[in-house]
Symmetry: C2
Subunit: 512 residues, 2 copies
Amino acid sequence: MTSSGTTSHPAGGRPEPSAAWELLVTAAGAPARGRGRALQEALRDAVRSGRLTAGTRLPSSRELATDLGVSRGLVTEAYEQLTAEGYLRSDRGSGTWVGETARAATGRTVRDPAPRAPGVTGASGVTGTPGAPGVAGVAGASGVAGVQVDFRPGTPDLALFPRAAWAAAQRSVLSTLPHRALGYPDPRGLPELRSALAAMLARRRGVVADPERLVVCSGVAQASTLLGFVLRARGMRTVGIEDPGSPEHGRLFASTDMDVRWLPVDEEGLLPGPLAASGVRVVVTTPSHQFPTGIAYSAGRRAALLDWARTVDGYVLEDDYDGDFRYDRAPVGALQGLDPERVVYTGSVSKSLAPGLRLGWMLVPRELHAEVVERKRTMDLGNPALDQALLAEFVTRGAYDRHLRRCRRAYRERRDVLVAALTGAFPGTTVSGIAAGLHIIARVEPRHGPTARFVERAAAAGVALRPLEEFGTSRQADGAVRLVLGHAHLTPSAIARGVRLLADACGRHGEG
Amino acid sequence: MTSSGTTSHPAGGRPEPSAAWELLVTAAGAPARGRGRALQEALRDAVRSGRLTAGTRLPSSRELATDLGVSRGLVTEAYEQLTAEGYLRSDRGSGTWVGETARAATGRTVRDPAPRAPGVTGASGVTGTPGAPGVAGVAGASGVAGVQVDFRPGTPDLALFPRAAWAAAQRSVLSTLPHRALGYPDPRGLPELRSALAAMLARRRGVVADPERLVVCSGVAQASTLLGFVLRARGMRTVGIEDPGSPEHGRLFASTDMDVRWLPVDEEGLLPGPLAASGVRVVVTTPSHQFPTGIAYSAGRRAALLDWARTVDGYVLEDDYDGDFRYDRAPVGALQGLDPERVVYTGSVSKSLAPGLRLGWMLVPRELHAEVVERKRTMDLGNPALDQALLAEFVTRGAYDRHLRRCRRAYRERRDVLVAALTGAFPGTTVSGIAAGLHIIARVEPRHGPTARFVERAAAAGVALRPLEEFGTSRQADGAVRLVLGHAHLTPSAIARGVRLLADACGRHGEG
């Protein structure tokens, strides 16, 4: 017997039980019932880790059973199982040895949970994790060392999540849902939820909401990706996003292989000229409450936007991320109501209930509907059925409306506390975008700047801030510090404390 | 005032209230509290539907208020709101008229919920909705008219879903989850769930399960799409799938712009020769319980498959769709345990709990991990947090293991009933793939054929069947009827009834 004839076959003699098989002793000492499994796991681990190298010959089952003081059947079974799985090899007459198949895992994975997608063009100066309207969170306070008060926008107050009402709806759903509803879902969404959402959106947001055109999705992020894939497949190569706006929208479309073009917004909305000149045929907008500036698109700009879409045979993605939270008057109706065949409307419960629910919706023009649904199907087959049934129940029984009323009261109060504290601590500060939403824009006098220094001092004092300039490409030359301040997720006392810390850290620099 | 100077301005005179404004009367009759909203909705609908055409001048607020018998403030507010939204236009001195912005929705949406993606090559003869291993359901009995017993494979028994245990875990989670867990999720998945799944998978399936390499996803379908996008971005253009196998895997990869190549499987697994010759660098496999044939890959083929992957610097997607349901002996350990850097392991609760939960997992080689996580992030930001916490709780408290034991007992009994009934009603029938899983393969003697006739007769008798030939390209020349029969989702009495119907409809044709 030469080694050349048995390259994959061991040529070694009898192994030394005392050295090689010690590792199995623990397994042999396991309770009788789990001893077989323990032996198999120990053997598997030994092969994987390299403690038993390829070619190593194993003792006969009789020998090993004797060494370990277990039944021979246990060893035979372990050998058979691991041979079937490919860890060991065996040959009648030649015994059993370690195969060459198994390889160990290499290294440890880098822990960064969210590497950046490339492809956002024109986004100079965008750093950090931008809070986007419907599409992205903000690192919680825990994400930044030493943060005491985190004013970065993007999340509602998770402490207000209506756990009792949610639990009640959960119980109701789980006790009444027919079995078949637990099967593979309709990729468009549960019919009951589509009906409930369509009625709610028509009532609250003035959209044209045909349940047959509604697609339940995981949120605005998925709506963006779905739309991006569909439009890219139709030959569109570039998406326009508002400037200032949400870089995250750009990253999502970039993941569908679309380029991103920033398009300027003024106090009335997207500027028609640059939009027309850009050559894009799809644009992401926040017309009811522009993110981050907080303006509502004027009627003229709404009309101009739709005129543009019709002219270029294009589409407007309307991200209605916080349309429900308007404090001064009735919410502005959604743009989609004006032209459901040119506007893809999208929203979610991320700002109204909790981002962690990952539940949203989109209303899709007829022309795109089948393609969006098919994309949704290949992406995940559809949203979880129980979650959908639960939200349908929650909306239908009026709990959603009640919760929104409760949040609106709380958030308005917090906004007022923030505005008062801020203008008190930093005289000359002006605020805007305060009529609605979960954040405001504050313009702090230039003497407190420059912005980067202001934000640094704040961070050193435990206050996390996000300057407006992180949300776009344009810079105003007046030297003022412009901040996007989230208030909804903070209690009034936390807001007051945050502003005090800010004043202590940044205020005196401006006074001196 | 000439029309040329006021193209977007109405030149009409005072409208006739009695005709044009009748539609608002209902709104005016609404309860006082909701009257303003009702008026706005009626106006919006009238504009959208075209009953009020662009350019139509509205009565003054004073006139309309008088006509409708409501307060003038109500009308003013409605005009202002709809002007802000773009439905109406107004001009100081010229009054208010219907704008040109609004367009109605066109047509109705086609109701087909799941159009097919193109791109599966070589899949001749694949028709209908294929039941795929981890990736697709089967139309329920309700999907086919007159179906009394549906033997098509793909779903577990949804009536066995452990509602009480699930509800208990739900209560526990909702009362103990910290608020922050309701925020934007980690795209890799909740840490608690990743730990619980890693431990469970290591124990039950023999995988190398590092929680840092585990990515929670919506199921095997999403795992396939995620992997497809990542590998396509790395330049791989073709994916291999087992023949017979799951056409749905092909469709999912096709949605990521990859071509699909069928690769032959024999009674030991994928044939190494055709695999090597195909030029693909990624292949989808079901080594623990091949779908649909039910074989387990031999140790030799497991080794050959990994050798191939190392040689071509490629990857194996291991769809471990029903590895938990093995009846004769311990489950075969997952292929991934042998080489976690070449095997992307994926599984879900779709066959163990319910497909409607849309919860699955994948274990990702280090080389691909960051890209898979980033794809997951852009696809949906991560799975719903409460669902994840719930499954973690369910697994950790042992309820998952208990449920699997209960299902395994039930499914084994159903398998036995099916095999006995079938071989009794159709003498000469042989069954295979019965050692595990939720379905079996039956070979019914040629005299009952041809297959298409057999399936037609069965359908006419209310029995839905799926022939093996729908799962691949190869045909055996012996003329026998080969069927993939799901049994797990049917009660023993339903199985017996189904076979009786089948015997009545198809049996006598063979006897005569």
